[in-house]
Symmetry: C2
Subunit: 925 residues, 2 copies
């Protein structure tokens, strides 16, 4: 029976790879990340200190068999040490030219600080002397020796650090010293001797002088550390399997502090802040690695190494280029020069800022280092997001105490003065030119004018899909919502949080990307999309990849082109912005927001409260020109691209004063009326009262127990056909007017809230008739479609029937999520949903990331059934999820034609769509 | 080429049946219902006047070819006349012994009064004389003659009746007569002559003296009448195909008014009112058929015919028995005795009352006439319904003017005095012993005590699933809801409708079966289930058929037993009632209704408003004994049967005062506080105000935009675990206590509103632990299950996951319908749903009959997915639909184990379940 190979020298990594059929993941699993990487560097000829790896399988075998080295392992380790001796020209335990090694853990996945290390193995009372002779630096050698004893004590023997540190403190105090650096060679020598005594006292054994015993016990200690409490806790938190085991790396020690031809440093192969192609890093001459990190001495920029050690520098530059070439990415490396000889100690993919991620990706693709697909995968949607929103200066922000933390509803940083109502906020912004932060317990549609005038929005109630959040994202205004630590006193116009009282006009800084709120002003940086050439290039690549024939694996007959990104935009300026961000159409233009504008709302209210058809028609006739003008602007902005316009959706009582306010007014007026003295006063009051009572009656008649599921959308269209006919008239008049001017218009009329195909059958033919009439009147034909939102579960369940009438589907996944879960989002997020996510009952807030198992099942069913009836059915999504990467990936798989999201999320969605396409490559041709 | 057979003599019906492979439906299609039936009677030897049928195909051919008789038809008709002459021994057109025939339409489906008839064909100026000689009754013969001329004029020639009637009126006026019966033979003779002149004047032709011309023109007229306006309108309304055509029946005239050995009558073969096995009918000697119906002369009971015409009577009794034997059902027959010879003119299935339908079905099955399956199919669920509720005396009711009409929400008749609020209603019922009708615009949970004390409930708002309706059905209280003609003035304590003003204490009569409301008292009849032996027997048969192995065609591995009927019952008395009605379990015992009772509500409110855990636990501890006692009663009542108890479902704010009331109170108190003069007054007011303000704040904090989709059900259980733990403790203590007394308890704990299996995973294990603890403490083991409602679409979509934890499913199709349609039932029914049904957008109110295409798809998916995980999963339905026949049939097909409905609907559901089983017989063994 041949014995398993438990030990791989770094020069043998190729053998491991052969053994594992070139499966690099399996190699990393067997050798751990560190071992595999050092082996890989060795393989490509990068100078790595000689060493070897004991496999993770050896660790698992050791742990499984009651802490026995598996058969043959120790012999293999001894043999490997012989090879290391040969490679290094040094000898383990030989005082003349002693080989020193480190023993470190190295698991498949990095577990920083969670696993143990012993350095300087090989030192003992004899080899110490040889080292002193060799280096001429007694202080360094005894410091190294005491470090070995201390680490061995704590890592291998479980002796606490405390008695060791106590000895060092004692020595310093006795000599009136403050810092370790002041300790002399003799001090360290004495300390090392004291450390040996501590080992004896605490662990009951002598510190082992035999280097092989040191090695054996250290190897065991690393194995055992896999099941240490810290390691288990970390793995639980990070979701790492407990049965992977750790490898053990035994590596020749090299020292950067061996005189003036030695040094050590860390570097990035390119600039991690901006992505420029220059080496970026620091080094110290005659120093150890930890000195660079500790910042005790001032480091030098890496470029100066050329002067200090020209040969080593030139080799280093070569190696960096080679590593980038090999790993196809920017590397973060550690190196040591020991007496002019360069050693590379580590290489790994370098962390980077969002800006540099984009530049690196584009540059490397241009250099031919990576493919465009790979370049796209190198950038995360979050990084694109970060690039598009104002950011606080991180240095200043770190110094500010947190005032409160809420839901990060709309990203970006905003600084401004607090105002407690929409009118004041708008006035201060427009008339006083202030930067305004509007703060409210929660917002309503009639707060929108104030929100639009504000730089930032802050609420104490509501979640990530509350009104405030949705509007803020729509308009790219930073917002923190549901921040319940804020105690808002609207009467006093003040807010109390973390013991600080802020009054109207006080400055606050709101970080919508993190949910943090600070008092006072923090400086911000404002990136602009148009200025970001690299991002623009990258997203062009994204579009090419996301939207091409055969990019998806869909049933036969399904449309095979990929996923486009469209935008939700209600106004011409939104549409222009969306187009600038790369939107390929408008997936949702809401017609009712326009109703809230100052000069329109009274007409809308007259329309709602009209006593008869004539009065209603008069009001509708007055609204028509407003709507037409809005649509004309949107069509013009989207020349050549489709525009989906949704007919009115919300219940009409949203356009009337609130029931509660009226109830209070009426109650007060009734009491006043009883008390008033004069006849004139009585008359006056009685007129006001009866007007208010009338309005109260109207509003009460329209109130609903659950307005979300009440008289809205197409139901309204059936009960009140004149309103949507006016809207369709306005749309087609606008479209025809623009078409006559040469604009290429593609209106698609979307009917909301369909639950039964008969609802569509009841309204759509009438609307189409109106459309045809207008085109006839205007003497021009335009391309148009009539379709429906799919946001009621029943519509998805019966999509085959719905598609008989609807020419396109647009999933309203906000409402579909509400109905499918039975969650009223206004109530749920505040009352239990965040708690659910916290308790792990739901993996994520389903209003942020589409619930693929439940809601997604309905989406997929609807697509499949709909296309069964109408194979070329256009299907998109226009809920909040249209801008969320995991949901976009789902939409790609489900075979949707587009996702539509807020203009500000278009770039993010474009990247996410490309990611989806790359991750699930073409299977249908 | 052989010519098609267009004409069938009645003796040839067997030939038609052979021709059509014994397909009786096709025979009826070819010969029409009347022709087929007369042929069938002829075939079994019943004396039917000789005659024949011209087929519907002939009619269609005639109409399709521009009103040409198809080739050969008229020759066949002439040949058939020859046969009739032979059979009758009379001769068509021969004055000596003239054959007279009628010509009537007869389509496949009865179209009463919509088609045309000509009688007495064959009379002319010559044959009239022969008839006079033959009968010796000149008056009768000339009356018959003028009838022929008049009918021929109107039916064949399109002359209006008006000039004919005018002549008769003139004659009577001239002779000072009032009634047709006073006209003499000479008068009729003169009138017949005048009628001939009218024909000439109006139609421009002489009345045809040739009997064959009469016959030909009458046949054509009947053919044409198929496309007459009346007939088309009727078919459109009744949904009858327009291409069926009508047959033409030519039948020998027989006369019951040919002297003292002649007579005519109608009879049922059994008593159609109570089902007794006695002949039931009337006859008149020496009279025509229409005289019996017209009620001009007093008819005699059929039994007396034995004296008048013993031989004919004995033959009639025989024939009735033979017809029942042949048609396997009670028959409604018409007969004529012409000069001692009995002729049967018609037989059809007799209409019957609900009571008699049941008795007939049971008797006929006992007699072996029909199978038990057939017996069950003879009774409709509506008939069972009618048998169980008080009914108004129909005679008195017909005399009362209707006050208003609303939604027939809970069946039955109720009479009582009007009261406008729950407290007064309860007081008047309990203290004054009055029969109370509680009237409200709509009801709320805190009105329930008044509703329970009332005999009937009346609301002006809400639909068939409004609170009032649901509670009323639950407790079997007649109710009319959504009766918007009622103008209720709560302040004035009066209601105005149809111009009548009713005040508190006035009497009204409410018919919950029809939705009618009358002012004043109408006497009622009260049937009792226990007294209805036949119904009890029939429903036992129903249970045997509905619930047996292999009764359903389900996928392999599915449970193959049929559908049981369980009941929804919250209190012991409900459970006893349900059991008496034959429920095989409790499918839904709601625990929260108990919270509204007077002595409990304050504790519940304390629990909700508690500041800390201790306070909350104290309140919960106080509630526990109440809940336990309720459950003990229910378990005792259901000894041996399963009881599903649902943990608390509604949002907690339902147990607190209404926000609007508090807002008004607080507003008033605040104004008062500003004005009050004395310090003492101020203190008093300020205490009241701050208490009210506190409550207002609490209620406001709990308010939800869409409470239907808010913090309720299992969500409450997760946020507030103590409450459901108390409930589970109470259930298991009650179950153990009863088990220790020897009661066979089967509690099943149902968790409402699950949307994600993780919700169940978060609460169910804790509850099971509590259950085990109590069983250990009590020292007894009981059978129990934990399961969930499926009422959230997501739960149905992911039922495979949910079934990993849930041991049973119960579909809450009320909520499932709400979520699947996105309809808030409180809002939808009032605002648009009834309109939808009226416009035909929805075929039915989906809250009454389960929407099988949409909601049903989710139900079926959930069953299939759930049983994939847990093949023996118990699945039932406990929504309102559980008592609705079409929904029950769906549940049978979907493979449910039971339907659960209100106790009063249990008998109906038992019959419906049997119908479902019979209609979809066993396919899986």
């Amino acid at each position: 029976m041949s014995v398993e190979k438990w030990v791989y020298g770094y020069h043998e990594v190729a053998a491991a790879e052969d053994h594992l059929d070139g499966d690099w993941e399996a190699v990393r699993g067997l050798l751990g990340g560190k071992g595999a990487n050092l082996g890989e560097m060795t393989r490509i000829g990068v100078p790595v200190p000689p060493g070897f790896t004991v496999t993770t399988r050896a660790c698992n075998a050791y742990l499984a068999t009651g802490e026995q080295f598996p058969s043959g392992m120790w012999d293999q380790e001894l043999a490997a040490m012989k090879e290391v001796e040969e490679q290094s020209g040094k000898e383990f335990g030989a005082p003349a030219n002693p080989l020193l090694v480190s023993c470190r853990s190295g698991a498949k996945f990095s577990m920083p600080g969670m696993m143990d290390t012993v350095l300087n193995i090989g030192l003992n009372d004899e080899t110490v002397k040889g080292m002193v002779a060799l280096t001429g630096d007694e202080r360094f050698v005894y410091d190294a020796y005491r470090r070995l004893i201390q680490m061995f004590g704590s890592v291998v023997l479980g002796v606490s650090d405390q008695p060791f540190e106590h000895v060092i403190e004692e020595t310093k105090t006795a000599n009136g010293m403050k810092d370790d650096t002041e300790l002399t060679a003799d001090d360290w020598k004495a300390i090392a001797a004291r450390f040996g005594e501590i080992i004896k006292e605490e662990a009951g054994i002598d510190f082992p002088q035999d280097p092989y015993v040191q090695l054996e016990m250290s190897t065991e200690a690393v194995f055992k550390s896999w099941n240490g409490k810290r390691a288990i806790d970390y793995r639980n938190a990070a979701g790492i399997d407990h049965d992977l085991g750790t490898a053990v790396n035994i590596v020749t020690m090299v020292f950067g502090n061996m005189g003036e031809t030695s040094g050590t440093g860390v570097a990035f192969t390119r600039d991690p802040a901006n992505g420029e192609k220059v080496l970026y890093g620091d080094y110290l001459m005659n120093a150890q690695g930890e000195d660079v990190v500790a910042g005790i001495r001032n480091t030098k920029p890496i470029a100066e190494l050329e002067q200090d050690l020209p040969k080593a520098f030139s080799e280093f530059v070569d190696i960096c280029a080679r590593l980038e070439e090999h790993y196809k990415d920017m590397q973060d490396v550690e190196f040591t020069v020991e007496q002019s000889k360069l050693w590379m100690l580590q290489t790994r993919t370098g962390k980077r800022t969002a800006k540099s991620a984009v530049k690196l990706a584009v540059d490397m693709a241009d250099e031919g280092l990576i493919s465009r697909e790979e370049a796209l995968l190198r950038v995360t949607p979050d990084q694109v997001d970060a690039l598009l929103h104002p950011q606080f200066d991180p240095v200043v922000k770190a110094t500010k105490p947190l005032l409160a933390k809420g839901v990060n509803a709309s990203p970006g940083a905003a600084v401004g003065q607090l105002y407690f109502d929409a009118d004041t906020a708008e006035r201060m912004a427009k008339e006083e030119g202030q930067d305004v932060i509007m703060i409210r317990p929660e917002t309503r549609p009639d707060d929108v004018h104030g929100m639009l005038a504000a730089k930032g929005i802050l609420t104490s109630r509501g979640g990530a899909t509350s009104h405030a959040a949705v509007v803020a994202r729509q308009f790219g205004i930073p917002a923190v919502v549901g921040c319940d630590e804020l105690n808002i006193d609207l009467d006093d116009r003040s807010v109390m949080a973390s013991g600080t009282l802020l009054r109207e006009g006080d400055h606050v800084s709101v970080d919508g990307s993190t949910g943090e709120v600070f008092s006072g002003k923090i400086p911000t940086v404002h990136p602009r999309f148009e200025d970001q050439g690299d991002l623009i290039i990258l997203l062009e690549w994204a579009d090419e990849i996301a939207y091409q024939e055969g990019i998806r694996d869909l049933p036969e007959g399904s449309p095979t082109r990929g996923l486009q990104v469209w935008a939700n935009a209600d106004y011409p300026q939104d549409a222009r912005r969306a187009r600038a961000f790369g939107a390929k159409g408008i997936g949702l233009c809401r017609t009712e927001h326009m109703f809230f504008e100052d000069e329109r709302l009274p007409i809308v209210q007259r329309m709602i409260l009209s006593k008869d058809e004539t009065e209603r028609q008069t009001a509708l006739d007055e609204l028509l020109p407003f709507q037409r003008a809005d649509f004309e602007g949107v069509f013009e902005a989207m020349d050549g691209l489709p525009v989906i316009i949704r007919l009115i959706d919300p219940p009409l009582h949203e356009f009337l004063p609130s029931f509660e306010d009226l109830l209070v007014d009426v109650t007060q007026l009734r009491m006043d009326a009883k008390r008033v003295g004069t006849d004139a006063g009585r008359t006056l009051l009685s007129d006001t009262l009866s007007a208010k009572e009338k309005m109260l009656g109207e509003v009460e008649g329209m109130r609903e127990s659950n307005p979300m599921m009440g008289l809205r959308g197409i139901r309204l269209g059936i009960i009140l056909p004149g309103l949507i006919e006016m809207q369709v008239t306005a749309i087609f008049e606008a479209a025809c007017n623009q078409a006559l001017k040469g604009v290429d218009v593609h209106p698609e009329i979307m009917i909301p809230l369909t639950g039964h195909v008969n609802e569509l059958n009841a309204v759509q033919p009438k609307l189409e008739k109106a459309a045809l009439r207008i085109m006839r009147e205007k003497g021009i034909e335009i391309n148009y479609k009539f379709g429906t939102m799919i946001e009621i579960p029943r519509a998805a369940l019966t999509a085959d029937q719905v598609a008989e009438t609807a020419q396109f589907f647009s999933y309203g996944t906000n409402d579909l999520t509400q109905m499918t879960f039975g969650y009223s989002r206004d109530d749920a997020e505040a009352k239990f949903l965040l708690e659910y996510v916290e308790q792990g009952i739901l993996p994520e807030n389903p209003f942020q990331a589409l619930d693929q198992e439940g809601v997604g099942k309905l989406v997929a069913m609807g697509v499949e059934l709909g296309r069964r009836t109408r194979p070329d059915l256009e299907v998109g999504i226009c809920g909040e999820h249209g801008g969320e990467p995991s949901s976009i990936e789902f939409c790609h798989r489900a075979g949707l034609n587009y996702v539509s999201c807020s203009p500000f999320r278009v770039p993010i969605a474009r990247l996410a769509a490309a990611h989806a396409a790359i991750k699930r490559p073409a299977l249908v041709v």
